[in-house]
Amino acid sequence: MPVIIDTEKCGKIENCPGEGLCIKICEQGALFEENGDVVLIREKCDDCDLCIQNCPNNAVSKE
């Protein structure tokens, strides 16, 4: 099951202490930047959960 991004916790990438670390750490290309926000492509998510573990804002989770 793909991850869920809490947009409120996430905020804009320009304010992220990891400078969009989730995008950089995801090797599936499931996360990308669109107008300064992190956007998920659900089909590409491989459930590795690296983004959940490494998000400095704790903005990524699973149900």
Binding site: L21, K24, I25, C48, D49, N54
Partner: protein, 340 residues
């Protein structure tokens, strides 16, 4: 550039704690053991992947009581704790790691396998091969009046001892073969050049057998040094050495357990592989495989795994001279199976 993390206090005695990030592997043993929760382990995977530029750990100067437990527990010497400018590793009251890594110069044949696999580039090798000319003896003669510089000898020579010289012959830089050189330091007097020469211009006589009693034994001279300051006691040299010349004592004894209830994400994740300081992890058939012989049971992989799939079970630690009962209690928490 990140400043080196350091805590210092001067009261009855001067105490200081310094984190040496270049020696740190990001295992988090220090943050696990700290009684005041003053050490926070940083984002080890992003650091190892070069995505963020930070030290592996963060010392909270306000919370740290400068007890020195973290420095004693770190098997990699990445925390330096000093009392009155004396490193506690040199004070008899404090625990000592019984770690060892050495290469026996007597049994080493200087093949260099260990140098290639050492994940910390901690082994230096210098090797001198014997001069061929001392062990292969003979006589050569090239008759340049007969030689037509066809180059057949150069092509067939297995020792690369013959060169046909090309020289400019006119102003248009046109080159023509008009010289031949035989390097006697390379020649093994096999005689192939003589046999292939269409002009019978080469004479080669091998006298190696004739002088065999006077020729010394072939000897490879060398020097091998293992820098214990860089070594993390992973055991690669010990595993790869074909002559059993390397021996390593590791900080912990125990095993790695792959949890059966969780699933390794293999190639999509490979966090364990990226954080392992020992190069002990490989992803085989999309699953993580950890070679216990090369692992130091530091636990970096276990903490980096988002699936909590890797469990560390340390059965014994080679830290001796633990005199304080409370320290013994704290340090014993490093032993046993890691919780998920």
């Amino acid at each position: 550039m990140i400043e080196m993390a350091m805590v210092e206090r001067n009261e009855n005695e001067k105490r200081s704690l310094k984190h040496k990030n270049e020696k740190c592997v990001g295992c988090g043993i220090c943050s696990d053991i700290c009684p005041t929760e003053s050490i926070r382990l940083g984002p080890v995977l992003p650091i190892a992947r070069g995505l963020v530029n930070m030290d592996y750990i963060n010392l909270n100067k306000d919370k740290c009581v400068l007890c020195g437990l973290c420095a004693s527990a770190c098997p990699f010497d990445a925390l330096e704790f000093k009392i009155d400018d004396k490193n506690i590793k040199e004070l008899e009251e404090y625990p000592k790691w019984e770690l060892e890594a050495k290469i026996d110069d007597e049994s080493c044949i200087y093949c260099g396998h260990c140098v290639k696999v050492c994940p910390k580039d901690a082994i230096y090798l210098q090797k001198t091969m014997p001069e061929i000319s001392e062990f292969m003896i003979g006589e050569t003669e090239i008759d340049e009046d007969k030689c037509i510089y066809c180059g057949m000898c150069q092509e067939i020579c297995p020792a690369d001892a013959i060169t046909i010289d090309d020289n400019d012959v006119n102003s248009s830089n046109q080159k023509i073969a008009n010289g031949i050189t035989l390097d006697e330091s390379k020649c093994v007097y096999c005689g192939l050049c003589r046999r292939i020469c269409p002009e019978n211009a080469i004479k080669i006589i091998c006298t190696t057998c004739m002088y065999r009693d006077e020729i010394p034994e072939l000897e490879i001279k060398g020097n091998i040094v293992l820098d214990e300051d860089l070594c993390i006691n992973c055991g690669w040299c010990q595993e790869i050495c074909p002559k059993d010349a390397a021996s390593v004592t590791k900080p912990f004894e125990g095993e790695i357990i792959m949890d059966e209830e969780t699933v390794c994400k293999g190639d999509s994740c490979h966090a364990c592989q990226d954080v392992c300081p020992c190069n002990a992890v490989s992803i085989v058939d999309n699953k993580s495989e950890i070679n216990g012989d090369l692992c130091v049971l530091c636990g970096a992989c276990s903490k980096a795994c988002p699936q909590n799939h890797i469990l560390i079970n340390r059965e014994k630690m080679n830290l001796n001279n633990i005199r304080s009962k409370s320290w013994e209690k704290h340090l014993s928490t490093l032993i046993g199976e890691s919780s998920k």
